[in-house]
Amino acid sequence: KEEIQARTITEDGRLFLQKAAQDGLETVWDRYQAQQPQCGFCELGLSCRNCSMGPCRIDPFGEGPQRGVCGADADIIVARNLGRMIAAGAASHSDHGRDLVEVLRKVGEGKAPGYGIQSEEKLRKLASELGVAQDGKSAEALAVAVAEALEEEFGTRKKALAFVGRVPEKRRKVWEKLGITPRGIDRETSEMMHRTHMGVDNDWKSLLLHGLRNALSDGWGGSLIATEVSDILFGVPKPVASEVNLRVLKEDQVNIVVHGHNPIVSEMIFQAAQDPELLQLAEEKGAQGINLAGLCCTGNELLMRRGIPIAGNHLMTELALSTGLVDMMLVDYQCIMPALGEAARCYHTRMVSTSDKARYPFMEHREFRPENARQLARDLVQEAVESYTRRIPAKVLSPPGDAVKMMAGFSVEAIVSALGGSAGPLIDAIKSGAIQGAVGVVGCNNPKIRHDYGHVTLTTRLIQNDVLVVDTGCAAVAHAKAGLKVPEAAEKAGPGLQQVCRALGIPPVLHMGSCVDNVRIFDLAAALAHALGTDISDLPLAAAAPEWYSEKAVSIACYAVASGVYTVLGTPPPIFGSPNIVKLLTEDLDDLLGASFAVEPDPTKAADLILERIRAKRAALGL
């Protein structure tokens, strides 16, 4: 019991942790416990496997080996390992972006039935930003041309990514001076893998600088493309109401849960779930309807654009299965624990993987391609309806009570329009001090931190201090579950922020989307910096990832800092084996970039660090 309390602050989480234990379902917390103690060399970043003269490790106490077989010391090994984490994170977002560009092209070529261009406005805007001629081109022809231009961003030919143009001039100069202007999306990842090969870059500083460049190729490249193209294909998010937590699963409906990151699949499922024939079928089978719910970021994508309810975040994915109510779970890629397939075997749940690049043990593979997506989605929803009839009553536990209400859909466009058409009122509120600053609270869950405790504690403290919070990903889901995402939550905010929220009818914590949508935050930051004629690093902004676990989060944190935003990490990254690198990242970067990292697992202390930073930035601006 106590252990369960310690694992999560959420009520539904606790209830289903008990249920899981009864069902004999092993959860991520159990596996985490079984791994204790974890390897300290690896935790400190002091182990290297980058060649077969190794593996090597450095003794952090200074008595054992201080160099790998090749001669690499603690600094080099930590930097190499961190570099590869960034590379993996950047590659993940970018490969996701690439998939969307492919669909955009296929839509233009008329080869993607079911998909279309839902925001021609954004398409045309992007075309002119990319210098693609529009001269009377149809939306379809333009889609092909824009896709071609975006493909070029992944290549090797450019001196700088096109979207670097969105960055304030001062910041671009900083990047140029440090030599970290991103050139090609895949190129920077490839070069990072090269630099970390034995006998290539052995200067921890230059390795880390390239790490920043690699991360920038994500933030102003891969992720940004993923977000922009998703908006073109599926629409620019607008404020929308929905619900969150395991109670969004309905006992009397067919429950289909989508999990992963890429809206390509989930949007088709969304369409199919509204098909009258299938609804009819569901009714015949005794269900009151077809209930689509999301998990993690593909959930956030649907939530932002369609108001689809969300069942939980990263650490809740196994527990969602333990309700016994999930008739089908569809996964695409990223953050899908390989344990899920086996976990589902305790229940009647059909597990379906959908991406050509991601398969899982004990899941059925049904591959989505732009060409077959519409039909396949229909087939799968139909199978989900069949699956509904196979529920195992003894294994079902319907969570009591109601789901928590929430609001989402705050794209930059939506925020600007909520402000009455320009960022002006936001700037005024910051200047007046009604809003002290803005912080992006983002990232995952991690069993190293009590589930949702990091996010909710930090964010609550920030809004109490009149700091506007914007969020994405699993952090956003945590906030929503805690009730921070309804306009009424304004009462939890300090007086200034409360007033602003009430005036605009918005919550104090704005949901900006999935993990790739972190670029929306930086788009907004860049726009504010432009409007004030200054650099992003001069603004009273910060970012935090209180419960991050993934390599993508490392890339995001790095492009945040490189873009000029102070970033506090909750989980310690594997860098503490190198005091030099800790000092560089947490202190010296400030001089180079006007922003740095901090590591602080205690969210209350993290909030204080952030508030202090915001005060300093305000003071420097004379506010």
Partner: protein, 196 residues
């Protein structure tokens, strides 16, 4: 007499001693081959999570007098005259687990011993790598431990060293007008792991 002395504050929990121990008590003696042996060789040292994010390498302390030896009715447990280690005579072990009941450290296990003349399940425990010692080699766990959490030394020498360290620590703050240890990065990292 040399003993395997444990300094838990230096254990980073890598578990490499466990692998080395299992390999040392396998038939083949090589990592890659031993993982396919049947019976599977088993480590005789545990690395367990303890307080304050410190991992504790838990192994037989070769107590003297040893509760396990005293509890062993068939006389399967004996003290090696060369190494002073408490060892198992597999021929005599009847698997009654009396030794396990008596052991205050919880280090006894039962199963087939790949190198025993019998195939039945017998008591498995640390033998302080008696056969390696005979070849002039360190116990396998000590050799694998790169942080010095396990060392093989004369107990008097270890204690002497620890005493000097303690003296140094005790006087660290003196003369600088403060009593606190410097907040080294190592301490910071420990705190990161424990505070939430």
């Amino acid at each position: 007499m040399k003993v395997v002395y444990v300094q838990p504050e230096r254990c980073v929990g890598c578990g490499q001693c466990r692998l080395a121990c299992a390999v040392a008590h396998s038939k083949s003696g090589s990592l890659v081959s031993s993982i396919r042996e049947i019976p599977r060789p088993r480590p005789r040292i545990g690395v367990l999570p303890a307080r304050e994010a410190i991992a504790f390498p838990n192994k037989c302390r070769h107590c003297d007098p040893a509760p396990c030896v005293e509890a062993c009715m068939p006389g399967a447990l004996f003290r090696d005259r060369e190494t002073h280690a408490v060892r198992v005579d597999a021929n005599r072990c009847i698997g009654c687990q009396s030794c396990a009941m008596a052991c205050p450290f919880g280090v006894l296990r039962f199963g087939p011993d790949p190198n025993a003349p019998v195939t039945r399940s017998v008591a498995l425990k640390c033998d302080q790598c008696s056969s390696r010692q005979a070849q002039g080699r360190l116990p396998a766990c000590v050799e694998a431990c790169k942080t010095g959490a396990l060392c093989f030394e004369d107990i008097h020498r270890v204690m002497e060293k620890r005493g000097r360290e303690a003296a140094f620590r005790a006087t660290l703050g003196l003369g600088r007008g403060q009593g606190d240890l410097p907040d080294s990065l190592w301490a910071v990292w420990r705190r990161m792991k424990t505070s939430v």
